[in-house]
Every structure is written in C-alpha cells, then in structure tokens.
C-alpha cells in the first residue's frame, strides 16, 4: 500500500513519555494504513495507547520514533505552526465533552476554524458555516447558544465545526461518551451519513455497540494493535432509529 492510496499511514510509530526516572512506552511501533472513505473505530481500555494514538493522528503531538504521513505529508518534519495549519485544513475534531465555546452561538462555534484559515473571504465563511450546519441538520439552530441546545445537538454543532473546513478526516474522541443511547445512535447515524458522502472518520470508543456501526475496528492493548478487523455488515444507525431497536443493542447497560 503506498502513501498516495492511504490518507493516513504510520510506520513504526512509537511514543515514549519520559518523566525523568520512569520511561513509559505508550505506543510500541504502530503500523497503520487508513484508506480514504473508511469509517474506523479504535477501541481499547484506558491506558491502552488509543488516546496517544489519536493525539498523534490529530497532529496535536509528535511521535517519538517512526513516521506519520497524513494525506502524503510527512508530519514529523513540520513545526508547530505547520501542525496548526494541518489541524485547521485536513482534520476535524469531535470530542467527548463537545468542547464548544461557551456563550458563543452555534454559528460562531462552527465558523471558528475558518477564522484561523488564511485566505478565506468573509462571504465564503458565511456560506461554508451555513452549509456545515445544514449537513448536521441544525440550520434553524444557528443562533442558539450551547446551553440552549441538547447534548446531541451540541455534539452535532461540534461535528459541523469539524466539517466546516472540508477536512480529509474527522477524528472523534469518544463522541458518544456523554450522550444517552438514542442520541448516541443519532450521532452515529450522522457519522454514517457523512461517511457515505466520502469523509474518512476515525472514532475512538470503548463501547462495542458503537464500534458495531463502523466498517473497521482496531483494538489497542498496551501500546500495540491486537486486532484489526473489517466488519462485513456494520449496523445501520438510521434503520435502528426507525425500527426502535435501541434496547436490543444493549447500549443501556453502558455505565
């Protein structure tokens, strides 16, 4: 598999946290290739290295060793500002805690990445922001503040923010972790719809029921990938919502 084909490719990525006396190897040489258009779940217990992996994939952190290519760019060579630009243009983040700016309308939250993008005319900022809100079905909530929105709506605002700059990939860190079962499936339906439109989505979760909606599941343990599995028939979130199969999915047992 060459780097042109894969949107994400890591070769022997290692991350060592050095706290003076103790060296912790959080990632022990990860080789991973993700093709455009995948919907991939990264699973694993806490401490398995999945968050560290997400930070590196999200260009928030550098690997200690190994190479990371994102969309053909060798990320190791970039400085802080270039990393910021990569995050701005190529990656959309969705977090567990939504991470919206308080006292800031949905519209203003969504336009935020565009404000940090060089050379975007103001009318485009407006247009792109409205389009992104429309894609997550929140066109009529544009001027609501986060505290006037439900958890699911807040997460959809966050997804719109991740989408607004038309990134190559969306990285979602436990995107359903703070949501109830029905809303979680709604969010997964949104992700599946976006994925059908061709966006690569990588989501970190420790819930199998959420991973069931993904087409590929990777499991981390102790800094290594112990499972990398294609799912032949992922669940369809919008059909689950229609048929009301929420209880049978077992999401209610989640603590």
């Amino acid at each position: 598999m060459n780097s042109k084909e894969a949107v994400i490719r890591t070769e022997g990525v290692t991350k060592i946290y050095d706290s003076g006396e103790v060296q912790v190897e959080a990632l022990k040489g990860i080789d991973l290739a993700i093709k455009p258009g995948e919907l991939l779940a990264i699973m694993g217990a806490s401490g398995s290295g999945k968050s560290t992996m997400l930070n590196i994939l999200g260009c928030l952190d550098y690997p200690s060793r190994g190479d990371y290519f994102l969309d053909g760019i060798h990320v190791n060579d970039l400085d802080r500002d270039q990393l910021a630009d990569i995050r701005n243009r190529k990656i959309g983040f969705v977090f567990q805690g939504f991470n919206l700016l308080a006292r800031t309308s949905a519209f203003e939250n969504v336009e935020l990445p565009l404000l940090y993008t060089r050379n975007v005319p103001n009318q485009d900022i407006n247009l792109l922001t409205r389009q992104a809100l429309e894609r997550v079905g929140l066109k009529d909530r544009a001027h609501h503040y986060p505290n006037q929105l439900s958890g699911g709506q807040q997460q959809r605002v966050a997804i719109a923010r991740a989408l607004v700059n038309q990134p190559a990939i969306i990285l979602a860190d436990e995107p359903t972790g703070n949501l109830d079962t029905r809303t979680s499936i709604e969010i997964m339906a949104t992700f599946q719809e976006l994925n059908r439109q061709g966006i690569t989505i990588i989501l970190v979760t420790h819930e199998h029921d959420i991973a069931d909606y993904c087409r590929r599941v990777i499991e981390f343990r102790d800094g290594l990938i112990i499972r990398d599995q294609e799912v032949a028939q992922p669940r369809d979130a919008s059909r689950d919502l229609e048929t009301g199969q929420l209880q049978t999915s077992g999401l209610g047992e989640r603590s």
Binding site: L60, N88, P113
Partner: protein, 405 residues
C-alpha cells in the same frame, strides 16, 4: 489569521464576559480619571496664580532713576541722575511694545478731610495709570488727559482712606486738603490688599501728575516711570526697548553704564508658576501611579483569565489557531480593554473635574494634550502588561490545554 478576524474574536470575547471586562478596566478607568482630575486641578491652580499675578500687573515695567553700578562702584538708586518728564515724552514717542506709559511723582502728605486726618502718599500719574496697574474703580471716575493739562486739583482715593476718613459717607464729591491744597475726590479705587512686598496698596491718593509735580512735590524730577507691555510674552523685548530708548534720551555713549534701572514682575510670576508646576507634576505622578496599578490589575486579571480560559485556548489550537493567533488575540483584548477603560476614564475624569469645580470652586483646566497623553499611556499599559499573559497563553501545549477543565 486575518487582522479583521483577530479583532473580531478579541471583541467577542470581551463582550461575552462583561463582569471580567469591567473589573479589568476598573483600574485603568480610575487611573486615567485620576490623572485627568489631578492635572486639571494642578493646571487650574497654575492658571489661577498666573491670573492673580497678572492682575497685580505682570505686564508692568518700572523704570527707576540711578543704576546699581556706576564705573564699577555701587551707587544705589536715586544718586545724582534724575528721571524727567522729557524721558516720558521720549518713551511715548518711540516705543512700540508699550500700550500705556505713565510718570509717577510721589509725595508723602498729611491729609485732612472727611472725619479727620491721615498720613498717606499721593501719587501723581497719567490717565493711563489704571490700565498699567490693571486696577479698577469701585465708584466715581478717573481723571482724563484734559485734567492733566489743566493741572486739575482732583484725586482718586484708595479703600484705606475711605475707611479712615469717610466711614459713613460717600467720598465722591468731598474735599480733601493735601498739604493745604484742596482736592476734590472724584473716584474710589477697588480694594487691592497687600502688595507682594507687604505694602498696603490701598493707602493711596492718585492725582494728575502735573498737579502733584507743580503744586505739591516742588522737585524738578519724577520718581518712576511706569509702563505696561502690550503682551506678557514680550516682556523681555519691551524691557530691552525701554532701555535703549532711555539710553538715547539720556544720551549715553556705547558701553557707558545706564543711569536708570528697568524692572518688571515676571520674576515673581515665574517663581510662583514654577511652584504650581511642581504641584501639578506631583499630582500627576501620584495619579500616574494609580494608572500603573491599573495596568498591573489588567495583567492580574489577564493572567487569571488565561488560566480560566485554558480550555478555550486548547479548542482554538485544536481547530488550527497558531501560537501567534492566540498571542495576538490576547494582546488585542488587553489593548482594547485598556483603551476602552481609558476612554471611560477620560469621561469620568471630565465629570469628576466638573464636580470638583462645583464643590470646591477651585479653578480647573483640562488640557487636551494631557487627556491624549493619559489615553495613550493607558494603551501602552495595555500592551506592556498584556504581553506576558498573552505569551503565556500562546505557549500552552494544545493537548494539555484541551485536557484542562
């Protein structure tokens, strides 16, 4: 990130946190307000003292006979050489920087009239004397050039004489006998109080110099020449002009010592002005300290705000803000805060100055350059004290900032 967007982001964040904004600005508001009020009071005092001095006749130039030095030997005044009425005519004809010139003939006299008698001085002067001394009448009239030509036996008296001789009646129209010469009182001078040298300036009788010169003094010279310079700014030039005209009048050769002395009151004025200027500087520096404290207040709250907004900074960095974007955002916030604080401070300063003026009746002067200066200083304080917190915000690690709750 475009400047326009940066400013937009900074403004939004200021508007979103009104309480924090107000607290941050408070120090600057008080600082700028205090500077304006203090300087206004100081300047007001300066102006008031200047007015007082000029009302005593700052434009006044006096010519005395005799020089302090003659051929290296100290002679003192009134030695030998005299001032004459010819000198006065010569000055009148040739001067360009003087708006009024008067000779002065002084004579100490026993005054009889009204309810008793009094020992006073009679000053023989010309009709321009009141203008020269910047003096006004409280009642009656002053004499004219015609009275001088006619050697009229009329006079104007000061308040001390009114008190001692005409306690219960209007002195205007009454008779006074000065060394047995009857004079008619035609006017009363306004009260003037003590002079800078402790003299009672109200213990005077003013009469036409011709009358005093020919009827009372019996001496062939005059005691002083008084003149008023056209402008306070041209005192030096006016003095130099008088000196050169007088040298001509006395036919002094080049290099020969002058046989007269020219003096003015600007020295007194400048001393007093110096004093009030020191007062103004003192007040301004005290107020500036509060402006500085205001700046430290901005830094304080900005630092707290960086900590409080760590998570927000993390979000901004995650979606692509560069360090510089964060730095500039916080810096703009600090500048906008201090400038708006400065603006409010200016308004409050104006208001407080007016209230001080109403409450104490002090003279206050708001100088535009001071307003601009303190406003500009407020902006500089914002940049200076905003930089450190802004840099701290910009240096945050995005992962740690995101994790911060």
């Amino acid at each position: 990130m475009k400047w326009k967007n940066l400013i937009k982001v900074a403004f939004k964040s200021i508007v979103k946190n009104k309480m924090r904004t107000l607290l941050t600005m408070l120090g600057i508001i008080i600082g700028v307000g205090a500077v304006i009020v203090m300087v206004a009071i100081g300047k007001g005092a300066e102006q008031r003292i200047q007015n007082q001095i000029s009302s005593m006749g700052t434009n006044l130039i006096m010519v005395f006979p005799g020089s302090s030095q003659q051929r290296g030997v100290h002679m003192g005044s009134d030695q030998g050489v005299r001032l004459t009425l010819d000198d006065v005519e010569w000055l009148k004809k040739n001067s360009t920087l003087l708006e009024a010139i008067s000779p002065m003939v002084r004579s100490d006299v026993q005054v009889i009239g009204g309810s008793g008698n009094w020992n006073s001085s009679v000053y023989g002067v010309s009709e321009g004397y009141l203008a020269i001394r910047d003096w006004k009448l409280s009642s009656g009239d002053f004499f004219t050039a015609n009275d001088i030509r006619a050697q009229s036996k009329i006079c104007v008296i000061g308040q001390t004489l009114v008190k001692n001789l005409f306690a219960n009646e209007d002195p205007v129209g009454q008779q006074l006998r000065l060394r047995n010469v009857p004079f008619r009182v035609i006017g009363v001078l306004k009260e003037r109080g003590q002079s800078a040298f402790g003299q009672d300036q109200d213990d005077v009788i003013i009469a036409p110099y011709s009358t005093v010169y020919y009827r009372l003094s019996g001496q062939p010279h005059i005691h002083q020449i008084l003149a008023r310079a056209t402008s306070l700014n041209q005192m030096e030039q006016a003095q130099a002009e008088i000196t050169s005209i007088m040298r001509e009048s006395h036919k002094l050769a080049e290099g020969e010592d002058a046989d007269f002395t020219v003096r003015n009151q600007t020295d007194i004025a400048s001393t007093a002005q110096e004093t009030t200027r020191v007062l103004t500087i003192l007040l301004a520096s005290i107020a500036s300290i509060s402006l500085l404290v205001g700046g430290i207040g901005i830094m304080n709250i900005m630092l707290v705000s960086v900590t409080e907004r760590t998570h927000e900074i993390g979000i901004r960095m995650a979606v692509g803000a560069r360090s510089r974007d964060i730095l500039v955002q916080f810096l703009i916030e600090a500048i906008v805060l201090s400038l708006s604080g400065g603006l409010i401070g200016v308004m409050i300063g104006f208001g407080a100055t007016y209230i001080v003026h109403l409450a104490t009746d002090w003279n206050t002067v708001i100088a535009m350059e001071n307003v601009l200066l303190s406003f500009g200083f407020a902006g500089a304080v914002g940049v200076f004290f905003g930089y450190y917190p802004a840099r701290k915000a910009a240096a945050l690690n995005p992962i740690e900032a995101l994790r911060y709750e």
